[in-house]
Subunit: 129 residues, 2 copies
């Protein structure tokens, strides 16, 4: 495996691209996070999703604290090569730090953002272990 | 309808957030583009997807040239309010300027990005009209 596939990605000036994570089977979009070269390389090699945490400014192995890792099924790149789509199996069924299945749990209804998805597990319990 | 729902979005310093567009029914992720306040407001009011074109630096009514508009079914916001997910009906079945169904037509296979999806219509024909 050469690095050519990493060079094909059109990294932004800050070295990142958005990475959309979609659940295999359900097709549910779980998260949008960011990857740098290292995160994408580690994702490909380990077959588990890695991102660059913009808030913590460090590489982030998704699920490293909660155990809710994302097993990668496929990795796609868009036409202008500046966005990545990964298809994953979400271990534990919870992708969001709020304890919900997906981070996209707020829907615009009549001019208000309404939380439509239930909290499946108390975040305190998720991050205790 | 007040502007409160627009203020809840955590716009980046450049005034934009990524907007992921997913096809109703198939669940296929079609595009990742960017929205500013005006694009989101126009999307909500017209029920057709509008984006901010970073390359052309202007508001972009998706399908304005090709006729391949995106009819909006739902609009979601993620947990940290800096990414939007819209569910759409893709008119004409072609979201990508290359004439493909989705922009995510390249899949990483054995260290190479492989175009796995067919061109459904010649882009020259799409933009002629």
């Amino acid at each position: 495996m050469t690095e050519n596939w990493l060079n094909k990605v059109n990294w932004a000036q800050d070295g990142l691209v958005p990475a959309i994570t979609q659940e295999a089977g359900t097709g549910r979009v779980l998260t949008v996070a960011y990857m740098n070269r290292e995160a994408l390389e580690k994702t490909v090699l380990s077959k588990e999703a890695h991102y660059w945490s913009r808030s913590r400014k460090k590489l982030w192995h998704k699920g490293e604290e909660s155990g809710h890792t994302q097993k990668v099924r496929s990795i796609r790149l868009d036409c202008d090569e500046d966005a990545i789509l990964i298809e994953v199996e979400q271990i534990g069924g919870i992708a969001c730090h709020t304890g919900r299945h997906s981070c996209f749990y707020q829907e615009l209804q009549d001019g208000k953002w309404v939380a439509t998805d239930p909290v499946l597990r108390d975040p305190k319990d998720i991050y205790k272990a």
